[in-house]
Subunit: 97 residues, 2 copies
């Protein structure tokens, strides 16, 4: 799984990734959880493959970090990277959502 | 030309509209100008029809207001509406861009 480095995180990709209501809900959930979560822990009305797709979009945009642990894929919000790159952006968007 | 009312402005549509680098540049230009602008006044590397399309996306998302004056279509940023609906969002995104 490839992840953009902090400097490679681009605003258009971040905004695009967050422009989907389901992905926004996932990010909100990760922000509230404050820890790694698996796909199945999310209370969103989508199939597992759609969930996997949404996480891929979030990962490629640099919003989440994914790692494999056995058969589980763990997802964590890249809050520090996002805050360093675009100060206040994530908080403002989550407050607006 | 239809415009969403302030209450009809939705976050996913706003983020999607701003997820395009050209549209983000247009919004930045409108914010700096602080007044209505015509399509041709924008220094963006796109054709007139593409420019028209981008403005339509911005209008339908509730980011700009468009009005016809003779043969010219004037575009203005809906800063007050956006600030009321999503406090700090536009400024934070423009600061990040």
């Amino acid at each position: 799984m490839t992840h953009p480095t902090r400097d490679e995180i681009e605003l258009p990709a971040v905004l695009h990734a967050l422009s989907d209501p389901v992905r926004l809900k996932m990010v909100r959930y990760l922000a509230d959880a404050g820890a790694e979560q698996t796909c199945r822990s999310f209370d969103v009305p989508v199939t597992k493959s759609t969930c996997t797709h949404h996480f891929k979009v979030l990962r490629e945009a640099g919003i989440i970090h994914q790692r494999q642990q056995g058969t589980a894929r763990l997802n964590a919000l890249r809050e520090e990277d996002l805050e360093a790159r675009f100060p206040g952006l994530l908080d403002t968007i989550l407050a607006a959502a």
